[in-house]
């Protein structure tokens, strides 16, 4: 890492850490919830970046993981309120709002979904992979739409956020810091992963799959594991998002959401550590601000995205920082 990158990384971190106070000083506290959303989408986009940017797998179904994570939170909370057994046949278990139980479950279910669908879809390449991941995500979308017990298309409202002993997640500032901590931990884990042996093989499969096989690697296993890990992280992002809004509906899984996450990765710079977070920030802020001026904000945002993808192949991160760091 060059000195310039270290300085820009450190200042980004400082801004994120001090943001709640900065917003106080500026008198813009309402932006804190937008900033929290940026962190959560940053986590989702970073997890997609693991398989897309480093593994070369273009998935258009990433929202399914978020939906599974989000619905885990919603359904568990629902049974807690109703005092009814989960799924109707787990008599000993009447839901939960405990972060330490519900969030790992959200990650587990998302990872399992990744394991099952990945085992099928990772046998295909390119356009077929895009279509299969999209199809699986649509299946999840219609599955939750059809669950009348859990609100069908209307979804479930939560009375409060999940409970974590010692921390009041209902406090927006506490919740912001929790999201920031989760994101930083994930980015650090991913940084370790892509610089370890595993990451070398994963990036190698993006660069030249045939060569990798002739060297003696079977890429499938590496792809599948990275797919599950990315799924678990996106599941956690879904759980966070549902906690923030205290609401979950099939809209969370709509294919346009998968597209949005994909755009964040491309916009920020795929295959870079902080690019997707940058992409999430720019996209969400633009949406928010353009929507203030006109309801046809997509007319402005669309061409902007096309220009970035056409002229900045390393994304915004590539425009700002030296290209050399891209796959380190």
């Amino acid at each position: 890492m060059s000195t310039a990158q270290k300085i820009s990384g450190a200042s980004l971190l400082a801004v994120l850490l001090l943001l709640p106070w900065l917003l106080d000083v500026l008198g813009q506290q309402y932006l804190l919830s937008l900033a929290t959303r940026v962190l959560i989408y940053g986590l989702a986009a970073s997890s997609l970046n693991l398989i897309l940017g480093y593994g070369g797998m273009v998935s258009l179904g990433h929202a399914a993981f978020m939906g599974i994570g989000g619905y885990t939170v919603g359904i568990m909370a629902f049974h807690q309120y109703e005092r009814s057994p989960v799924l109707g046949w787990l008599p000993q278990f009447a839901g939960s709002e405990n972060v330490l139980l519900v969030w790992p479950l959200a990650m587990l279910f998302a990872a399992l979904f990744g394991l099952v669908t990945g085992a099928v879809s990772l046998r295909t390449r390119g356009m077929h992979f895009i279509m299969i991941t999209l199809a699986f995500a649509q299946m999840v979308y219609f599955f939750f739409t059809s669950l009348d017990t859990y609100g069908g298309g209307d979804g479930i409202s939560l009375y409060n956020r999940n409970l974590l002993p010692g921390l009041d997640l209902g406090n927006d500032r506490v919740f912001y810091y929790l999201c920031l901590a989760v994101l930083l931990v994930f980015l650090y884990l991913m940084h370790r992963l892509i610089n370890a042996r595993f990451g070398r093989v994963l990036i190698g499969s993006r660069e030249n799959e045939q060569r990798l096989q002739v060297l003696g690697f079977a890429p499938f296993g590496y792809r599948l594991l990275s797919y599950c890990l990315a799924g678990a992280a996106a599941g956690l992002a879904g759980a966070l998002l549902v906690n923030q809004g205290e609401f979950v509906s099939p809209g969370l899984i709509h294919w346009t959401r998968s597209g949005e996450i994909l755009v964040m990765v491309l916009l920020g710079g795929m295959g870079t550590l902080v690019g997707p977070l940058l992409g999430a920030a720019v996209l969400l802020f633009l949406e928010e601000y353009l929507a203030m001026f006109t309801e046809h904000w997509m007319i402005i945002l669309g061409p902007f995205l096309i220009l970035v993808v056409l002229f900045a192949r390393g994304g915004l991160y590539g425009l700002i920082v030296d290209r050399r760091e891209q796959h380190d």
Partner: protein, 249 residues
């Protein structure tokens, strides 16, 4: 005669109506450098693809050190101790020389499902990689990205990645393709220095290099083994002269 390292037994392959390998039988003796020559379209690269498992055979069997590997996949064969270089340079374009060689090293040394420890701080990877880079003469280019290397350096890296897996059988598909005389000479010296330590199958159009390096030569014509023999025998074989060499050399 010693046990062959590698044996092809009646191997056949057709693409549609075109028979590219026709009942090919071939033995590779441990430690020899066996050259495979033949006119364009004789099926040399196809034969290498069948040996490495990039293509399935239609008929016949392949044996590596007495193990039947006909049904084994490409990466299983590689793990048994086969490595190859490609005629059309096949690298990891955005990996540095060092990263490419380290990746090749880790293919045969331990599990690669290591998620935490930095690969470039594992002496088990970096030390062998440094030796290979020194051997192929790319030590001072270690931090250069593969796509920014010159063509000659890319050919060397191609060789280096094959060597770094520590193979018992090395398959070289026209390693000198597109090289100038100087680089060709360097590569020929590198190959000569490997002789004896590893069994090598060399596909090459540079006849001077082939006759200088090879212990035995097999001539492939239209998918059939025309003749196998010492360089002397091949040079004096009238059928080969007519079909391939044209004029006596």
């Amino acid at each position: 005669m010693t046990e062959p390292v590698f044996r092809l037994d009646g191997v056949e392959k057709s693409f549609g109506g075109l028979r590219v390998c026709d009942a090919v039988n071939l033995d590779l003796i441990p430690g020899e450098l066996h050259a495979l020559i033949g006119p364009n379209g004789a099926g040399k690269t196809t034969l290498l693809n069948l040996i490495t498992g990039l293509l399935p055979v239609d008929n016949g069997s392949l044996y590596f050190k007495d193990t039947d590997i006909t049904g084994k996949t490409c990466h299983e064969r590689a793990r048994l101790g086969m490595a190859r270089s490609f005629q059309i340079t096949s690298l990891f374009p955005r990996f540095t020389v060092r990263q490419s060689i380290e990746l090749a090293v880790q293919a045969t040394r331990g599990s690669s499902y290591r998620l935490w420890k930095r690969a470039d701080s594992e002496p088990g990877l970096t030390y062998p990689a440094r030796k290979v880079m020194a051997r192929i003469g790319l030590a001072d280019r270690a931090e250069t990205v593969a796509e920014n290397l010159s063509h000659g350096e890319q050919r060397l890296l191609e060789m280096g990645m094959a060597l770094a897996t520590g193979p018992e059988l090395l398959l070289l598909d026209e390693p000198m393709a597109g090289l100038g005389p100087g680089s060709s000479q360097n590569l020929a010296e590198l190959i000569a220095s490997l002789k004896g330590g590893v069994t090598i199958m060399l596909v090459e159009h540079d006849m001077q290099a082939v006759f200088a390096l090879a212990d035995r030569i097999t001539v492939l014509i239209e998918g059939r083994v025309s003749v196998t023999g010492s360089p002397e025998e091949i040079r004096n074989n009238p059928a080969v002269q007519e079909a391939y060499l044209g004029t006596p050399c």
